[in-house]
Symmetry: C2
Subunit: 130 residues, 2 copies
């Protein structure tokens, strides 16, 4: 779990941020998804993965992400479009406090597989031995 501030390649035309798989983030990107149109009072996520690692960036607007290893919870502010947050496997994640204009970009290390999800918090605590 760590925050990285990525270089902004800005010039008179505007800004550009680039994320190279296996270079800027520690995995190859198998899946990209993005969340938008989220209500400010509605959290998302609230699950963990057995294998999938995720990299989260609020490319527009902002949100907060709380990561939980079963022992400790840490909340991160994704409030700049060049701030990325790594969510490792076996970390419980919740996204919340979305601004109405938030677009949360997620790069994932695995293709979608429902069997990789841990959706029950008590199950999660058992899996991580917490």
């Amino acid at each position: 779990m760590s925050i990285t501030e990525h270089r902004i390649r800005g010039d008179h035309r505007g800004q550009l941020v680039a994320i190279e798989g296996l270079q800027d983030i520690p995995f190859e990107v198998k899946r990209v998804f993005y969340i938008y149109g989220t209500q400010p009072d509605v959290p998302r996520g609230q699950h963990s993965h057995h294998q999938t690692r995720q990299y989260l960036i609020a490319v527009n607007g902002s949100c907060k992400v709380t990561l939980d290893d079963g022992k400790q919870k840490v909340t991160y502010d994704l409030n700049k479009p060049n701030i990325g947050l790594l969510q490792d496997a076996l970390i419980w994640g919740a996204m919340h406090d979305f601004t109405v204009d938030c677009v949360l970009l997620v790069m994932a290390s695995e293709h979608y597989d429902e069997a990789d999800y841990i959706r029950d918090y008590d199950d999660f605590l058992k899996v991580v031995g917490a």
Copy 2:
């Protein structure tokens, strides 16, 4: 060069669009970049690639993309966050008419390599034999 309208996985929490590499798009994603803060009157892109294929989505706001194979130019409106545009290798691309809030997400089939860029339009026409 083709437009795809991706499924929006919407519910009471908001919207989610997922792009699986090699499934929803015809390549593995080696690099992800996004362009934002672009002035409405400033075009971007205006180059081609020898090898790199790109998949473009305006995940916030909108812009237009003109693709040019050396014989024909077609302009696409990226005006919904679930519309994706495939830009093949050896296609000249220009992005323009950005709204101030536009975030243009690009998934690329290759890592960054300056040698893969064709930045001169006359060189491009020679390479494609147009």
